[in-house]
Amino acid sequence: MRTRHDMTDPVRKEQASPSRSRSVLRAMIWATVPVLLLVQLLASAGVEVSSFWSQIRQLDARMTRVAESRAELIAEPLWKMRYDQVRSVLNEIMHDETIAAAAVYDDTGIAIARVVARPADQTVAEVSRPINYRNGNIAVQAGRIAIAYSYANVYADTGSQLMLMTVVGLLATFATVVALRISADIFIGKPLAAIMSAIQRSKQDGRAYPADIKSSNEFGQLARAFNSMQHTTTGALDRLGHMASHDPLTGLPNRRSLSERLATLSNDARSADSLIAFCFIDLDDFKGINDTFGHDSGDKFLVHISERLREAVGPQDWVARLGGDEFVVIRPEVGNAAAAQAFAGLLLNAISQPIRLHDKQVVPRASIGLAVRRAGDPELSHLPALADIALYHAKTKAPGTVAVLDEALQRDYRRCRDLELAIPAGFAERQFEVWYQSLVDLESQSVVGLEALIRWRHPEHGVIGPGEFLPLIERSGSNARLTRYVLTDACGALQRLAFAGRPDIRIAINLPPSELADHSLAAELSETCARFGVSATMLELEITEGSLINNIASASETLHRLRRLGATIALDDFGTGYSSLAHLRRFPLDKVKIDKAFISEIPGSEEDKAIVGVIASLAGTLGLTLVAEGIERAEQAQAMREMGVRLGQGFLYHRPQPLAALLQWLAEQAAQDSRVLADSPSIAPEIAA
């Protein structure tokens, strides 16, 4: 499918195209009209110039003839000295408008007669001819006749002819332009419009339409070429569309097709109340197949699975591979939730038939998340996400089974999504609160430190524990921000503790794994401590084993930096993860906190007592301070003390509480201590959020 941008660009081009075709015509006119005009004018000028010279020659010849005929007429009166007759003959020729003046000279060169018709202000030519008189006896030259004549008429004629030819030329040019315009519209504009219309229709619905041109001229050929190109394009588009919407390995529709399918689901349904079953299938341990048999076999395995799914479903059902080992099967109409679940079970059964890979029998296993929704449900597009919730549930709770999305799962999903969306507001409105839980000397019962614990006071959901929202914080990339939030609060708390007369109490902060890779943490910690005027030695940084595993080198470096600042490093939740003894040796640790899982069964569980005892002995040997978490009963404290655990933490002493409450308790404790020195531990009041 084209993107939105792709769609808009051609439209803009189409809108621009008519003006472009006009400009082509204009360009043609601009290219031809001046040439046409020039040729017309040059031709007119050429014709006129030749006509002009011809007229000049004719006029010259005519004047010569006039002079000669007059000479003949004048010869006798001139010879016979009848000068009055000479004059009258000469006067006759003055009717000729072109003649400006004429004169007759006798054989002595004297002008016998001279007539001037008009001042010779214009170009004047002159013709002179001898006047020969002859009779039976003599033949003599009696004199000369000279005629001066003007070319003015020729000039005027030529001028008006030139003007006429120019006007005719302009009219001819105009007619040509009109003809050009009309023929361009017929022979160019129409075929172009037909092709443009085909292109426009093709743009509108993505199909390649042929241009309807029947003529056999160049545009006909162009149209045929265009139509054959359209044909080719249609095939290519179809192939491209198929490739874009199908998985090349299995030939099944892909994730892109899923979106389209979802969009059409409700339309295809017979009624809004029809139930749609959406099965999200994830193969269990596909990675193991790949690792064991290689990727080619993995691919083959996937093809087998896809074939089985295809065989298992009905003609109305729809199977897709979203990628990797994820498949989706949609049954557009099921009778009820139970039928949907049975369908999912059928699929699971089909998948679970053994497959031979490299002569070895493999039994595929898969988990299915099933979501059933009404066709009229406005959130039909969320079906993959809903089914994914169910799938996640199945994967985590019961792999190899079908998990049906129920209200509870959906509620969790919604809450989770709400919280994730609310994180930025949580920071902005300082909804995150840092509570503190005391770390107590098991011998003296005195508070020696506090652990900073984050809480989210959500305006709708109330106080939310870190177990729920920290994964969301991590997913949204806000770990660093939260850590600095906590660090700042802890430094403030240290300051207030000092004011309250307890500068000896240290505060522990939990560092998420990602922070150990952050080289700037040490510098920021140092800067924050300086800002609050507290020593970094009063800070304790708690890390988990998991964070050490993922990035050993950078974690080690960060821890060394922090330690050089004076902060102490504690390994949290020891015993539940890898519990690597190598870690205890490799990293610069000061303290190890035993997970409360080992404490809760004490003193009843001898095994736990043994484990804690070993850990305590190991810590003692390595010079590490040991902390017991989750001490809820006095006998647990007693057992810890007996096993040599010096420090403890738990509800027996204090629940996590806001700093103000803790400060108040400390103040009261101090006052009590001043009155009676009591050894018995007090129960911290529960603070309900």
Binding site: M81, R82, Y83, D84, D106, T108
Partner: protein
Amino acid sequence: MKVILRILLTASIVFGVLTPIGCVVAADARRLNIVFVNPGKTGEVFWDMVAQSMQAAGRRLDANVEVLTSERNYRTMQELGLGVVARTDKPDFLILSNEESAAVPILQAAEAAGVKTLLLSNTLIGDDAARLGAPRQILKTWLGDITADLRNAGVRMADALIQAARAEKWQSPDGKIHILGIGGDEITPASIARNNGLQLAVAAAPDVVVDRMLFANWTQSEAEQVTANYLSWATRKGIRPAGIWAGNDPMALGAIKAASAAGLAPGRDIQVVGLNWSEDALRAVGADRLLMTDGGHFLLGGWSIVLLRDYADGCDFAAASPHVEVQAAAITRANLAAVGDLIKTRAFDRIDFTRFRAKAGRCGRYDFSIDELISSLAPVQGTAD
């Protein structure tokens, strides 16, 4: 009575015709009726004098001469002539002048009517002459013609000019004597004849050149104009004009006027000759401004009556030739005194025309010379001044 007279007349004619040559003309010959269609205008000197001499001769030779004037209109002339021919009382003779060849229809009508005709001064020319042949051949009643030898007159005039110029040594720088010819026109026989005379005379004189032969329509003013033009041209050409030959007296007088206007003294610086014996010309001759005026051919009128009288009396001029050519004559200062008065007063009755009749046996032989004329003149009657 008339019948008898007719019979008598016819008999006399027949008799006369048949009378052997040498018969004495009957002294008691009957009176002749002669009509003359005058082509000229009333007041036109030459033709007036022709008619007057004709009438004077009629009085001497017992002929009644009726003169009809056509006022220089050939249509009028034809109407007059045809009218005469159509008369019931036809004349004995009809005298015509073939000016502009207008007389031919009249001749033919007269032939049809049996009226005898004589052409005076202008005879048939060109096609007419070829077509109608000699007198009395095709047109039996066309008796003949009497003309003046004007070519010879032209020669005489030119010779007079040449002699005078040679005597005065009026040669131009090129050594030649340059003269100007002024003709009346180029088409009428009378004009062509005298112009030919000029050409002949000059052809015989290698030291003479006719610069131009100009034509002035017989009129003084036009002659004056062309002469002025010529003199101006000659000056520009460096020619010394020696003489001007004019085809008639008015043109000669125009030339004189132009020469005077050009600062030349006619008679002293340049010589001019004319033709016609006109009064003004004679005065100019007397004043030494005109070298000579040739002519006297107005007497053709009188001579024609002499011919017809003789013919009527049986002495046919055709015995010599039906074409009677009369020599013209020049009047110079030398003979001016003798004839000048005759012309001035037009006292043609002084001429004894009977003296000029053919002698017996010599029909057609006449002496119409100026000397004979002078000797024929009766002394002036009355007081002579």
